[in-house]
């Protein structure tokens, strides 16, 4: 079947099997390999992307279900000049990543947390990230990164594609 969607600001139309998962569509069809797959049971959040302004686990969405949507992955966050998104910047400064496998999903979920609550407490960040597992960082620096990103203002809770929509 045919699916069309805008991924990181670019329009794509492809012929896919109905059962193709959005995560595999992004990785294998579009070659956007940042989005990772860490489980079979919608548990780990490594595959989190933003679809129409909401964080979702792309391993549990069919590409067919995202037909017509706006999708943002980690690759779509930095500015055209390479300027890091406030969340990316905060993850780097606070050492919020080690092996990096959870990171793409964690960053997208963290943007979702701030979209929902622009100035969360530690506890609220932890609850907001309850669907994202990290084996390396013990979450300590991830929590710090999200809270420090929150200080950067509303952009930390938005993807560039939202900002375009808002404009």
């Amino acid at each position: 079947m045919k699916v069309s969607m805008t991924v990181n600001g670019q329009q794509h139309t492809d012929d896919v099997e109905p059962r193709l998962l959005l995560a595999h569509y992004l990785r294998d069809v579009l070659g956007l390999k940042a989005t990772n797959i860490g489980c079979d049971t919608t548990s780990c959040g490594a595959c989190t992307v933003i679809v129409d302004g909401l964080s979702v686990k792309s391993c549990t969405v069919l590409a067919a279900q995202a037909d017509g949507s706006q999708v943002t992955t980690l690759e779509g966050l930095a500015g055209p000049d390479g300027e890091l998104h406030p969340m990316q910047k905060a993850f780097r400064e606070e050492h919020g990543l080690q092996c990096g496998f959870c990171t793409p999903g964690m960053v997208m979920a963290a943007i979702g947390v701030l979209a929902d609550n622009p100035d969360p407490s530690d506890r609220e960040v932890r609850e907001g990230l309850e669907g994202n597992l990290c084996r390396c960082t013990g979450y300590h620096n991830i929590v710090r990164a999200v809270r420090s990103a929150a200080q950067a203002g509303p952009a930390a809770g938005q993807v560039p594609q939202d900002q375009e929509v808002a404009r």
Binding site: D28, D40, T41, C44, L74, H95, L97, C99
Partner: protein, 761 residues
């Protein structure tokens, strides 16, 4: 000012944060064009006679190129037991033959054009197994009624030492004994296992895989396949976590090479999580019996531990874990007498390997529980019992009755720092208040002190290689035999090189994990990297500067003694003659400026520390929640506090998870109960507080950096502190011991039993 000791943010991050790292499954490489996808068909039965494997339907499925069973790989000799103490009959066939020995044993392999076709076809392979009784526990294994390897005549994989003599505790006023479980856990690096293989026209195979040490994996794979190692080129791309479970090659990795040859096309394999949770090595898995004896004044006179290590179905590195547990049995204490012995047993379960700490957390968990049991028995504060028995401060090597020689230690200072930072006395007062009021939420305070061994030589030596080359454009390249997978070596090794040469960190590229470029290397495991690999980089930089000095002296026609390092300019300056000098880059333009070196560590190092955990236990439901974790971890000199803290945080989380949550479970037939992340209770952000880190740094004399290992210490210290805290919270209700993980049901039941008058353990 030296860059060492400063919080340099990681150079690897910009790429990781914008494009993502490149893990094995992400590889886009010409050599892998047209690669077939590998899908393993695994046994769903723990123990049984393999009657038949029918692949006919699978062969007809769309996209299937080949399906292989044991008969097809008769050219492959079984994978040997590998360790000299293991009965040779305990070898692993590549594909199960005659018998299956655990849920996850490979019975067939499917090659398909597309990823999705593999799963469809694998479903069509029909496997007929006649089940045998399963050996699930070490007790089952020891009973020996059912054998995994009939030819071995035993389930005992290895034996280490003899039981303690009967009079070992004679003369002690008080002796406490406890059986305890250091439960089997799953390492769960977030990246599952993955590999790819492609043969070149030159008759060499390139294998990509996610692993903690390319050179070791290459050697094993070549050995298993009976190949000349020179024909294997192994590359570890970015690796999404390892935690010990990616040490050494897995049979699946070697298999990709064989499959690619057989199919005449490159192949790739990425397991899914359900496969990972049964196929990848598990960790821990010890049944322990500890005895501790001493006087009522708190002096401990003798301590013994007996270890039954669950080895799983086929011998892997896990079977030597008892030796590390035994080596570290004396822990931080000045016990006059220590006895330890152990054995490893085969069970119809996933093989046990190394998991963050590997053998040392088990030692610490046992002794720290034992101390608390002893304290409870004599009615003394557990902090006081520790104070009375810790090895006093030492800066000359200290040899323990269990045979370890510690480099330096300040155990009492570490404990006092932790107690002070935690506000121990106030915590005890608050605990007393809650007990008095009979509140539903009781406070538990748990302590641990630990010492562990890092950079131990576990058979691969204790040396590491490094190469440093300065280029004419002012950049430099470091080649290292370590194998970072989150630890940040690209940044830390660049700092070490920069510290000596003045070349800015951003201009230094660190490469690892390619056996053609870096033939020798020990990988990253056992918290060895900085003290051996980092020390090698440091040594390379020192040697490079010395070499540059000679060259500069010739070029500038001055005496080498008149040259001094100009760190700001990354060059050599003539002393007293401003403006005269030459940069390393200029020297590199003349002729290559490169050194290769090897650092040999004289001995392992022994980081130590003390943790205080504060938990709240809802005594009505049994649920324990960690409120605080205060941690002193002394790993000697710190090169980059940001990275070292990150290692500690991650270690704590895994340690806490073992105490509170995580456990791999099997039913009585050997069926795994925790083979998805929906069932395996991987610790998430909501069960953890932000941690309270206390700094302490006692340099080691063992290496020029003064550094000890920090990768595993957090795990080792945190587990017993949290475990002790949970039991402490309910001790006033009569509870003496609860095995890990301290799940709500276990805690509730322990309280019930204690209240009904009986001792609960």
């Amino acid at each position: 000012m030296s860059i060492l000791g400063t919080r340099v943010v990681r150079t690897e991050d910009p790429l990781f944060l914008t494009r993502g790292a490149t893990y094995t499954d992400d590889l886009v490489d010409d050599r892998l064009t047209g690669a077939l996808h590998v899908t393993f068909v695994r046994s769903q039965v723990a123990h049984g006679r393999l009657l038949s494997v029918d692949t006919s339907a699978a062969r007809e499925a769309p996209g299937v190129v080949a399906v292989y069973t044991a008969e097809d790989c008769a050219d492959l000799a079984p994978i040997p037991a590998g360790l000299p103490m293991v009965p040779p009959a305990m070898q692993r066939p590549w594909l199960a033959q005659g018998k299956v020995r655990f849920v996850g044993d490979i019975v067939a392999v499917v090659l398909t054009e597309e990823r999705y076709q593999g799963e469809d076809a694998a479903e069509l392979v029909s496997v007929d197994i006649d089940p045998l009784p399963a050996v699930v526990t070490t007790a089952d294994a020891a009973a020996g009624e059912v054998l995994l390897f009939e030819d071995a005549g035993t389930n005992v994989m290895a034996t280490f030492g003899e039981p303690a003599p009967a009079d070992f505790f004679s003369g002690c006023e008080v002796v406490v004994e406890q059986r305890m479980v250091n439960q089997r856990v799953a390492p769960v690096p977030l990246e599952t296992r993955a590999a790819a293989a492609a043969w070149g026209d030159d008759g060499r195979v390139t294998i990509w895989c996610t692993n903690q040490g390319a050179q070791q994996a290459k050697g094993e794979i070549a050995g298993w396949l009976g190949m000349d190692p020179a024909r294997v080129h192994l590359i570890t791309p970015d690796v999404g976590g390892g935690f010990g479970a990616k040490i050494g090659a897995d049979p699946e990795y070697a298999f990709t090479a064989w499959l690619a040859q057989r199919a005449g096309r490159p192949v790739r394999w990425t397991e899914n999580r359900s496969e990972n949770l049964v196929g990848m090595l598990h960790g821990r898995g010890q049944d322990q019996t500890v005895r501790i004896g001493g006087r009522r004044d708190g002096t401990i006179e003798a301590y013994s531990i007996a270890v039954d290590q669950d080895g799983g179905a086929y011998p892997r590195v896990g079977i030597i874990l008892p030796t590390l547990t035994m080596l570290m049995a004396a822990a931080t204490y000045a016990f006059p007498k220590v006895h330890a012995h152990g054995r490893a047993l085969a069970t119809n379960t996933t093989s046990i390997g190394a998991y963050r700490g590997a053998g040392r957390p088990e030692a610490t968990a046992a002794v720290e529980r034992a101390i608390d049991l002893f304290a409870a028995e004599i009615g003394m504060d557990p902090a006081e019992v520790r104070r009375k028995n810790l090895v006093p401060s030492f800066s000359e090597p200290h040899t323990t009755p269990s045979g370890a020689t510690y480099d330096s230690g300040e155990y009492t200072a570490a404990l006092e720092k932790a107690l002070e930072a935690a506000g121990y006395d106030e915590l005890r007062a608050e605990q007393a208040r809650r007990r008095e009021r009979g509140e539903a939420r009781q406070l538990g305070i748990g302590l641990s002190t630990y010492v562990e061994i890092t950079g131990a030589d576990t058979g691969l030596g204790s040396a590491e290689s490094a190469e440093l080359e300065v280029h004419a454009d002012g950049t430099a390249t470091v080649l290292t035999g370590t194998s970072p997978h989150g630890q940040g070596h690209a940044t830390a090794w660049a700092m070490l090189a920069s510290d000596q040469t003045g070349i800015p960190v951003e201009k230094i590229t660190v490469l690892h994990g390619d056996t053609d470029r870096i033939p020798r290397g020990g990988g990253t495991m056992g918290s060895r990297s900085l003290q051996q690999g980092g020390a090698a980089v440091h040594q390379a930089a020192v040697e490079l500067v010395a070499l540059a000095k000679q060259r500069a002296a010739e070029r500038l026609e001055v005496d080498a003694a008149d040259l001094e390092l100009d760190l700001a300019g990354a060059g050599l300056a003539v002393r007293g003659t401003p403006g005269a000098g030459v940069t390393l880059a200029e020297l590199a333009a003349d002729e290559p400026l490169l050194v290769q070196t090897r650092f040999e560590a004289a001995a392992p190092t022994f980081p130590f520390g003390a943790h205080v955990a504060v938990v709240e236990v809802d005594v009505e439901s049994g649920k324990a929640e960690l409120q605080r974790l205060v941690a002193v971890d002394d790993a000697g000199t710190i090169v980059n506090p940001l990275l070292a803290e990150g290692q500690r945080h991650g270690g704590y989380a895994q340690g806490v998870a073992q105490a509170l949550l995580e456990e791999v479970l099997y039913d009585a037939d050997g069926n795994p109960q925790t083979s998805t992340l929906a069932d395996y209770p991987f610790v998430s952000a909501t069960e953890l507080p932000s941690f309270e880190l206390v700094d302490m740094a006692t340099p080691t004399p063992i290496n020029p950096l003064g550094a000890k290992g920090i990768g595993e210490a957090g795990t080792i210290g945190s587990t017993p502190a949290v475990h002790n805290a949970v039991i402490d919270a309910v001790a006033h209700l009569g509870v003496r011991h609860i095995d890990m993980p301290t799940t709500p049901m276990k805690v509730w039941r322990a309280i019930q039993q204690a209240q009904q008058g009986g001792s609960n353990a």
